[in-house]
């Protein structure tokens, strides 16, 4: 099942989270802890989720996205998504995330907001 570690990238006050190919319960066990740590140590105003390598997501992913979205809302920040394929966009819609978090086609657009 390959490398499931997350890759994080800080761009000024923007935190980019590169999601794994299979964004499920198994592959997201460390995400909560790792992002909490990054948010505590860095001043993050915007959280950007990169789906460009992701081919699968279930409701576990929705739970994580909603939780991070609320977290950013509380601190006056924002959250966005880019690179989602058709199936991911369907799951985002069913999970109610599509109407909360803006989706962009490219990383550059998502960073700018």
């Amino acid at each position: 099942m390959g490398d499931v570690s997350f890759l994080y990238e800080a761009k000024g006050q923007v935190l980019v989270i590169h999601l794994p190919k299979e964004f499920d319960h198994h592959n997201s066990r460390d995400l909560r802890y790792e992002t909490d740590l990054l948010l505590a140590e860095n001043y993050v105003r915007r959280m950007v989720f990169d789906f460009s390598k992701t081919v699968f997501m279930d409701s576990t992913g929705i739970g994580i996205l909603l939780n991070r979205y609320k977290q950013m809302q509380r601190s006056g920040g924002s959250a966005a998504i880019y690179g989602a394929n058709a199936q991911i966009r369907r799951v985002l819609a069913v999970g109610g995330v599509a109407k909360l978090m803006p989706q962009y086609a490219s990383k550059e657009a998502a960073l700018l907001g």
Binding site: M1, E22, D24, H25, H26, R29, R32, F56, M57, D58, S59, T60, I62, G63, I64, L66, N67, A86, Q87, R90, V91, V94, G95
Partner: protein, 165 residues
């Protein structure tokens, strides 16, 4: 004795429809899989069921929907049924005509209040990281979902979907 244990050798359709389903119009084909309750098996389970379902010549979207629903049921068994501990997850998939039936069964703690558990956004997770949308996703991505559970005996989820046209 747990009802699910008594029924364990009956196919999902025999459980749903009684013995009459032996006189089916189709030649039913069935796949059975037993796996340990481990999070790494979530991907294996959804891929295995999707591979079995490919004989119905489904669209890519139907396969993606099926994988999502199976992932939800298996993740529920791992997290809630066995509470992250040891256990076996029993998966059965069968086809009759264009209809796929998938059963995911655990012999874990069971669900005390099934309607409550199936409410969208209901979750027992205190950390708030779980969306509580597992059953809602199964219902969104499959045609039919039935949940049977006995406290102390386990939970069986039976899902159906028309595929391939």
């Amino acid at each position: 004795m747990c009802q699910a244990e008594i029924n364990k050798d009956k196919t999902a359709d025999m459980q749903l429809n009684g013995a009459d389903s032996r006189r089916e119009s189709c030649a039913r084909e069935t796949m059975r899989l037993q796996i340990e309750s481990r999070s790494r098996n979530e991907e294996f389970a959804r891929v295995a069921v999707a591979a079995f379902a490919s004989r119905l010549d489904p669209t890519l979207m139907e396969i993606d929907d099926l994988k999502t629903a199976v992932s939800e049921a298996v993740t529920n068994a791992v997290i809630h049924g066995y509470r992250g501990g040891d256990g076996i997850i029993y998966i059965e998939a069968s086809v009759c005509g264009r209809e796929l039936t998938v059963t995911v069964r655990d012999t874990g703690v069971g669900i005390p209040d099934i309607p409550k558990a199936m409410e969208p956004m209901f979750t027992t997770d205190p950390a708030g990281e779980r969306s509580g949308m597992g059953f809602a996703f199964m219902e969104a991505f499959m045609d039919q979902v039935e949940v049977r559970s006995e406290v102390g005996c386990g939970t069986t989820v039976i899902m159906k979907k028309q595929m391939g046209g």
